[in-house]
Amino acid sequence: MPPIRTYHDLTDADRSGLSEQIGAQRKRVAERLAKVGRVIAVMSGKGGVGKSYVTAHLARALARSGRATGVLDADLNGPTIPRLLGIDHSPLPTSPNGIEPAKGADGVKCISMAMLLDDGAPLAFKGPSAESFVWRGAMEASALRELLGDVAWGSLDTLLLDLPPGMQRYVELCDILGAPPAVLTVTIPTAESGDAVRRAMRAAVERGSRLLGIVENMVGEQFPGTAGDDLAREFAVPVLARIPWHPTPDTWDGLGGRV
């Protein structure tokens, strides 16, 4: 038998048009975000450092300063942003143009899986349970794409994306956006946190993200350390804020003024 031609050798038009379908999905996201001034991913690589807390209060500070701000809660499995923004579970107005985001404290627009799931229910998908690890990641990436592209964000100065711990969602985000987003990193002062956050920052740099700076959260006697300064020096970025255990609105307004 002669050598069989490869996949790339076959170039006839394909009625399925899978690549065109993927292209249309990306175009939908790009068109939706065309009126968004900047997209900032809030990440750390470490759980429990207060990313969502920082994201919500930063968003409120930005909104108070007159900048139209939205938050996409990209923690699909542990969404907390609506509660932090004081958003209840009113039904989201829907039209063929998209889903209207909810409005929270200080007028921050928000979409979160928490608004779509039954109270207390985990994010579960229909489908075969056997080997669900094969498709679950793709399903979550599709959900993230739809939250970006199908929500009628309107004109925003800033869209903050609250990422879950780890790097998977960040990588998905880079693929969906077609370009790496700017990154704001959150850490607590401890060396352990610094180790995890360093890996995340390195991955972000390797992907081409611009590092805006570091927010050192939970600063006080409880968590001694210098992770914020260490990471700032290593990556040549500023420490944008040191958030004490009991921050005031001025704390957040200061951060908002530097982001």
Binding site: M1, I4, R5, Y7, L10, T11, D12, D14, R15, S16, G17, L18, Q21, I22, A24, Q25, R28, H89, S90, P91, L92, P93, T94, S95, P96, N97, G98, I99, E100, M115, L116, L117, D118, D119, A121, P122, L123, A124, F125, K126, G127, P128, A130, E131, V134, W135, R136, A138, M139, A141, S142, A143, R145, E146, L147, D150, V151
Partner: protein, 153 residues
């Protein structure tokens, strides 16, 4: 994924997609030269993987709907997550438009979980409107479901 007719050295063309309803998928491909047809059968996990990407083998049968994958695939969605009242007046899915729903069709639609009902209603309404159908009945819904491959809706 592409199929090659080895004898003819020709790329086979997509012919038809079938969703039997058991989570599997069948797609047929035909050689443009010799006419030989083959069927690709995917198991539930493979079918789910394709669905997870938000794409359809054989091409899209209906325009992409807002949060389509989420609404079709999330099993734990809240009943009152969406307010469908935001549809513009005169849209095909509007009850006061030229399109009507028979009582049986309304009853059937009411059995669709609210999380996905608005989207499903809009798809059926657009299907009827495009074909000049004045009233949606269960038979129309069955035909649309088969033609559009609305498995899971």
């Amino acid at each position: 994924m592409k199929f090659l007719c080895v004898d003819c050295d020709r790329q086979m063309a997509f012919e038809e997609r079938q969703l039997p309803g058991d989570g599997t998928l069948a797609a047929t491909f035909k050689c443009p030269t010799c006419g030989r047809t083959v069927a690709m059968l995917t198991n539930p996990m493979e079918t789910q993987l394709v669905s997870s990407l938000g794409v359809e083998i054989g091409g899209r049968t209906v325009p992409a709907q807002p949060l389509e994958t989420v609404r079709k695939m999330v099993a734990t969605g809240r009943e009152d997550a969406f307010d469908e009242g935001g549809e513009p007046r005169g849209h095909a899915a509007e009850p006061n438009g030229s399109l009507s729903w028979s009582p049986e069709a309304q009853e059937r639609l009411a059995r669709v979980p609210n999380f996905v009902r608005g989207m499903v209603k809009r798809i059926y309404a657009d299907y009827a409107k495009e074909r000049g159908i004045a009233q949606i009945t269960p038979a129309v819904m069955d035909t649309a479901r088969a033609e559009l491959g609305l498995e899971g809706m």
